[in-house]
């Protein structure tokens, strides 16, 4: 039984939240300028009523001073983006814990989880709220990313999808609170969005991929045409794969990944496998859910069917 009505009736209030980690001001300003325009158009079209921007800064040194934030409040006020909150955490909490900390003070109807290395399309919000206005039980709407589109599958007819990436995802605030935000204990950097998505689906809500809502996510390719993966990315990604499998009642799969990584993984991956082993031995792995495998999918190392 759903606890919350997610269908929007009129202009909604929104909080946009981003976790900073070593971003340059120029990068963040570029993102803010695009958000300013998108908010302006969304308010004038009646899609949104009021908007707050919240930054949580996990960087070693603050990206902004108070004066610099104040200057930006003034700069974007006319576009409806004058309410900018900024908190320097003085600690790298990770994306999931950072967002959870921001979610604590949430008092809007909607929350947009957004990566700071993104630039949004002018009609982003107008397009994102459409599924929530048109249909019931849509708790999350995910934007399409360019220049590299995520290959996970979705229904062309309804947009429904198995999980959403939180590079840019609009979430019903009440639902985000209902599922207690992200599982930051289990997921530091990766798969926090897969887990978040699956728990929302387990709670009975729908996730929708909206191709007409677009963001530019600054991803690049190596000179060989491959993803550029750093050692940290490799470590957290491997760790997350085992944690996710275990949490969603696929201990067999988690063990298999662990063995494979120990046998043939890179140094970072072996380190992740050893960490998983130690958590297992000390009984610190997450409580298992989705015993009947209603929402979790593990297909060829991915968490849903891929289109290509």
């Amino acid at each position: 039984m759903n606890q919350h009505d997610t269908q929007l009736q009129g202009a909604a209030s929104l909080r946009i939240q981003s976790i900073l980690y070593g971003n340059t001001q120029q990068h963040v300003d570029q993102s803010l300028a695009s958000l300013g325009r998108a908010v302006e158009l969304a308010i004038s079209s009646g899609a949104l009523s009021k908007v707050q921007m919240a930054f949580g800064d996990c960087s070693p040194d603050p990206v902004f001073t108070d004066e610099e934030i104040e200057e930006r409040r003034k700069r974007f006020e006319a576009q409806g983006l004058g309410d900018i909150q900024y908190e320097f955490y003085d600690k790298n909490l990770g994306s999931a814990a950072g967002h959870n900390r921001l979610l604590e003070g949430l008092n809007s109807e909607l929350v947009l989880i957004l990566n700071p290395d993104t630039v949004v399309a002018p009609d982003l919000f107008i397009e994102l709220v459409k599924p929530m206005r048109e249909r019931q039980r849509v708790a999350v709407v995910e934007a399409r990313q360019v220049p590299i589109e995520h290959p996970k599958d979705y229904s062309v007819a309804s947009g429904e999808t198995g999980w959403v990436t939180t590079a840019c995802a609009l979430v019903t605030a009440a639902v985000a609170k209902e599922v207690n935000g992200f599982d930051s204990e289990s997921f530091f950097l990766y798969c926090d969005d897969v887990d978040f998505s699956w728990r929302i689906r387990l709670a009975g809500y729908k996730l929708v991929f909206q191709p007409s809502a677009v963001i530019f996510h600054d991803k690049r390719l190596s000179q060989e045409g491959k993803w550029i993966v750093g050692a940290a990315e490799e470590y957290f990604s491997a760790e997350a794969a085992m944690m996710l499998s275990y949490k969603y009642s696929r201990a067999d799969l988690a063990d298999r990944i662990e063995r494979q990584l120990l046998d043939a993984g890179s140094e970072s991956e072996k380190k992740a496998a050893r960490k998983f082993q130690s958590l297992k031995e000390s009984g610190k792995l997450p409580v298992q859910i989705d015993a009947d495998h209603k929402v979790a999918q593990f297909i060829d190392g991915f968490y849903s069917k891929h289109r290509f």
């Binding site: 570029q30 300028a33 695009s34 300013g36 325009r37 158009l41 630039v119 949004v120 399309a121 002018p122 009609d123 397009e127 360019v146 220049p147 590299i148 589109e149 290959p151 062309v156 191709p211 007409s212 677009v214 963001i215 530019f216 600054d218 991803k219 690049r220 390719l221 190596s222 000179q223 060989e224 045409g225 289109r307 290509f308």
Partner: protein, 574 residues
């Protein structure tokens, strides 16, 4: 300042061109003032048009000669422009001024701009036609000789030793428009071989040599004045325009002009591409959107999409519709409008990464003036249903492929294009200074044609960095689907034939490559000849045996007997 030369009026000369302009554009009554008239070679023909000819010069001897032919003359010193204008006023008196001419005179005075300005004041409210003729030092003969350090002053001609300023089309245009003279007609005097066509056997000068022909090829493509000996122009009084006579070495321009042609059929991808431009790490660019042959309503939608973008992009964008020509026309149209140091083409169905502009910029800093080439990856897309942006949407339907090489092979590109335009950027000067144009007779591969011609002039700076995605339509219309294979083949051969008709500069290493390939060809020819000889010897014997069945039977039996004997010997040996 006076014309010291006594050249008679003849048809096919500068003088006849001046008279031609007067005849067509000046009235048939009133006074014609010929400033710096010399011996007055145009006096009689001007009088024949019905005008009253008045000659003005500093040289008394020449004025006297003109007097004796029955023409009114006045002494004038152009070096004092105020006094000179006073002389003109006095000479004209109450009569109506019809026209003025100034042949081979402006290049002799140091106060040319001031005099032209004063003359413009004199012509105020008079609507008098002003015809001027000056030598053109941009004639190709002078450029070719200057390469070898020759700048030969002569008694008369293009480099008359008494000239104090050397005019080109650009300088004359600037001088006249800043003085308030608006050009109404031109009758430039052409000479393929100027008076500077010497020494005759110098390979730089002689138009029979490859060197001269290559230089002429560059010069002729650059503008219309390579073989113009004398610039002959007609003007009327007009507004004074800001036209600097002295060129600033550093030009204020954006780094990159992005020419984006659109037919408005893919507004969803067009919108995505504008978003990708918004996210560029370098914003040192301008965007020129060319809606090509689109209906007004569609154009309004294109404008609306641009208008919706953040201010930083709106302020960098221009939308300039082009309503003519095929798919190549908007490229020339857009390049003409481009202000950037470099120009690139971005089609409305492509995608770029955030460092696309920045990468071009870094490469240009490293090798200014070279054509720039990064690497594109390829991805399949397919048309989807109508979108909120208008028109069909698109969806990515395949993984990213990496088919284009990370390095640029000059010779491979002569055979086939491995570099989509989205990965290329061209120096502005090849279009605006060297006259390179897209070939509008081509319906396909126009980019490859342009790239090759640019490559020969500029060379290439290549980076293995992947900066863009070349989208291939798996479902929906593209240049691949709307043109037949025969169209592609026709254009392919046309391009190669065109390139092959011209002279080119090849990079170092070419001679070795040609020699190596010649060696390979000779070796292959020898191998083929050997194989064919071996084959033909066998074939000849077989043919002989077939022609003579008895001989074939004998040979077959002999073969059989020989084998039996052989086997017998082997058995015994065992």
């Amino acid at each position: 300042m006076s014309n010291a030369y006594d050249h008679p009026y003849e048809s096919g000369t500068v003088y006849s061109r001046v008279v031609e302009l007067l005849h067509v554009h000046a009235g048939t009554g009133g006074v014609h003032l010929d400033i710096g008239c010399g011996y007055g070679p145009i006096a009689e023909p001007v009088r024949e048009t019905g005008l009253t000819y008045v000659g003005l010069d500093l040289d008394g001897t020449r004025l006297q000669a003109l007097d004796e032919r029955g023409f009114e003359t006045h002494a004038i010193d152009l070096l004092d422009e105020h006094a000179a204008i006073a002389t003109l006023r006095a000479a004209l008196g109450d009569r109506t001024l019809a026209s003025i001419s100034m042949i081979d005179t402006l290049e002799h005075i140091t106060n040319g701009p001031q005099f032209l300005n004063a003359l413009r004041n004199f012509a105020e409210n008079r609507a008098a036609l002003f015809v001027i003729a000056v030598p053109n030092v941009a004639h190709r003969d002078l450029g070719a000789k200057l390469l070898a350090g020759r700048w030969d002053y002569t008694v008369e001609g293009l480099l008359d030793h008494t000239h104090v300023i050397h005019h080109t089309d650009r300088l004359l245009n600037a001088m006249m428009s800043s003085a308030g003279w608006t050009e109404v007609a031109r009758a430039d005097f052409q000479r393929q071989r100027s008076d500077q066509y010497f020494p005759r056997f110098d390979p730089l000068v002689s138009d029979a040599t490859p060197l001269n022909r290559y230089l002429s090829q560059i010069r002729e493509a650059a503008d219309d004045f390579s073989s113009i000996n004398e610039l002959v122009r007609a003007y009327l009084p007009g507004p004074r325009k800001v036209a600097p006579l002295v060129v600033e070495p550093v030009e204020e321009r954006p780094f990159l002009s992005i020419v984006m042609r659109t037919q408005g059929r893919r507004l969803a991808s067009f919108r995505d591409l504008l978003l990708a431009l918004t996210a560029q790490t370098s914003r040192d660019f301008e965007l020129i959107v060319i809606p090509h042959r689109v209906e007004f309503e569609l154009q309004k939608r294109i404008e609306r999409i641009v208008e919706d973008m953040p201010e930083a992009i709106r302020n960098r964008s221009r939308i300039v519709p082009c309503d003519r020509g095929g798919r190549t026309t908007p490229l020339n149209f857009g390049f003409e409008l481009a202000r950037g140091h470099y120009i690139t083409i971005l089609d409305d169905d492509e995608m770029i990464f955030a460092h696309w502009v920045e990468t071009f910029q870094k490469m240009a800093e490293k090798s200014p003036g070279r054509m720039l080439r990064t690497v594109a990856v390829e991805q399949d897309i397919a048309e989807t249903a109508d979108t909120a942006a208008g028109g069909k949407g698109y969806a990515v339907v395949g993984a990213i492929r990496h088919p284009f090489p990370g390095t640029y092979d000059f010779y491979a590109h002569l055979h086939q294009n491995y570099s989509p335009p989205v990965a290329m950027s061209f120096p502005r000067a090849v279009f605006h200074e060297l006259g390179l144009r897209f070939d509008e007779s081509l319906n396909t591969a126009e980019d490859w044609d342009f790239e090759l011609r640019c490559l020969f002039m500029c060379g290439v700076e290549a980076s293995p960095e992947i900066t863009c995605i070349y989208h291939k339509w798996k479902k929906g219309e593209s240049s691949y689907s709307i043109h037949s294979q025969s169209d592609w083949e026709r254009d392919y051969h046309m391009i190669l034939a065109k390139i092959d008709r011209q002279y080119h500069v090849f990079p170092p290493g070419t001679i070795k490559l040609i020699n190596d390939q010649r060696k390979w060809i000779i070796k292959l020819e020898n191998d083929i000849a050997y194989m064919s000889r071996t084959k033909s010897a066998k074939r000849s014997v077989l043919e002989l045996l077939h022609r003579h069945p008895a001989l074939l039977t004998f040979a077959s039996r002999s073969n059989k007997v020989a084998r039996q004997i052989g086997r017998g010997i082997v058995r015994r040996l065992r």
